[in-house]
Structure formats: structure tokens, C-alpha cells
Point group: C2
DNA sequence: GCTTCATGTTTACAAACGTAGTCGTTATGA
DNA sequence: TCATAACGACTACGTTTGTAAACATGAAGC
């Protein structure tokens, strides 16, 4: 599949930038989509032009984050990496970088900063209780 | 206090990049420090030259993240922004961007990904219990 | 057939970033 | 007094990112 011997096609995905991430969110929400359809979802919100979306789709394709599937004249774009993988990776990066890899420290910090509402806390407690057994 | 009328000195701090953050960590650990001293702490670890550290210190100063305090021929650098503020900001950004602002979702995700050890979970539970009343 | 529209590809360009070298100046030891 | 080392300031340069225009090409209506 997709031979092309000699091209560097490690299955490894590059880091996704902020703008690129906005496009990924659209595709995670619903896919496959055309460039125009992606634009419909984000161009308004971010004040982008279709050209911008096209560029981002190209870059994401180059980064192996999405896969263009030919559909006549155009392409339909599909996410290649799962949202949960991305989210997990980013979360881990943050925890590693800022909390020495200790996830509990992150929660502690959020709690101290009052970043956690009473509801959040109950929810987390319930979650943990569930996890535990 | 640092009059200098006319210069754009909003107390607002710019976003700190990854490399810059490494320097901040050193200064948060101990300060004030000279450029050479900062280098002693990170140049080995990151394979940087002293020149690189000097550049980063300049940029951080321009971003109002640190404040150079004259000491004869040289400067001693101090963090201006608190580590907890930075950490809080970054955490919030992540939660907003990836979890729709719901911190509990982040914790849920970490839990599902087995990113939380048994110890982490106990620790968090204890923390929450403490917080609650 | 020819104009027009949609679409991917190429090129552009400024700002931010990572990484570092050079320059000018002053303290300092010989 | 003179060479040298230590510093901050300035300059440099390739890459990534944000944002988009120009271009080529094929589809589609007229």
C-alpha cells in the first residue's frame, strides 16, 4: 500500500500546530469532508479564507495526520490519527513538561487554582471510584 | 516604577516558547542568576551554547517574563511571572482547547489512558477530600 | 467551443522560534 | 599598558506557523 520506495514514510506523525488542530477538530467531528466543507465549519469562526484551509489541509497531509481520498476532481479528507491519541499525547506533554510527569500534580494545581468547580470535583471522584475496581 | 513614558509596557506577558520555558524553569528554581549560571543549569541538558541562553534571556526580557537587575558589568535575572501563574495559564489553555474547558474531562481522559497510577488516584482522591470542606 | 467555477498545487511573505556567531566594551591579570 | 576574558547588544539564518494569493486544470453550463 502506497509503496513509493525511498520516500520517508514512517508512520510517525509530526507535531500538529494550533491552526492545524482547528481543522482536525472539524474532521474528527465529521468526515470525510472536502476542503470547502471544512471551510464552512471554521472559516467563519476563525476568520479564515478557503485558501488558508487548503494550506492547512496540505500540511496536515504532509504530516500524515489526515489522508486525502480521491473523489473525482477533488479530495475527501479523513483523519488518520484518532482524536483520543492526539489529546492523550498533548496531555502527556503538558504533564511531563509542567508537572514532572505527575498527573496528580496537575489535578492538584487545578484544584488549588479553583479551576475545578464543585461539580467537577464530584465528577472526578465518581470517575476515580469507578476506575478503582 | 519604571516610568519610561511612551514605551508600550502593558503588564501583559507574551506567550513563552518551549525553549524559553526551559530557561524559566531554571530561574524559578533559583534566582537571581547570571546568564552564565543559567547556562550551567541547562546548556548540558539541552546541548545549548551560552549564546543561545543569552538570546533566550533577551527574548524573555522583551516579553516581560523576567527582569534583568544590573550588577556591575552584568545582569542578574529574576522571573517576573510566577511559575504557578504560568502553569495555570498553560493548563487552562490545554483544558480549553482539548476538553472544552471541562477540567473533569481531562482527568477522565488521563484515567482512561491509564495515565494515572494507583498512587496518583489515591493522591487525587485525598486532595479532593481535603478541598471539599 | 468557450467562459466560468471549483479544486488541488505552488509560491509568498511576515512573524515566531531554535540556535548561534560577531561586535563593542570594560574589568583584569600580567 | 596591553592582551585577554567576560558580557550584553546586535545580527544571522534556517525552520515552522499563520495567512493567503496566483496558477493550472478539468468540469459544466451555455
Amino acid at each position: 500500500m502506497s509503496s513509493d520506495v525511498g520516500s520517508k514514510d514512517t508512520g510517525k506523525v509530526d507535531r500538529i500546530s494550533e491552526a492545524e488542530h482547528a481543522v482536525m477538530e472539524v474532521l474528527w467531528e465529521r468526515s470525510p469532508l472536502t476542503a470547502a466543507e471544512v471551510c464552512e465549519q471554521v472559516c467563519g469562526e476563525r476568520g479564515w479564507s478557503l485558501a488558508t484551509v487548503k494550506t492547512l489541509l496540505s500540511r496536515l497531509t504532509a504530516k500524515n495526520a489526515i489522508a486525502p481520498q480521491p473523489d473525482g476532481r477533488r479530495f475527501l479528507y479523513n483523519p488518520v490519527i484518532a482524536r483520543s491519541d492526539y489529546v492523550g499525547g498533548e496531555s502527556r506533554r503538558l504533564v511531563d513538561r509542567l508537572f514532572g510527569g505527575r498527573a496528580a500534580s496537575l489535578v492538584a494545581h487545578l484544584a488549588e487554582q479553583e479551576a475545578l468547580s464543585e461539580d467537577d470535583m464530584s465528577e472526578i471522584e465518581a470517575l476515580l471510584k469507578e476506575m478503582r475496581k
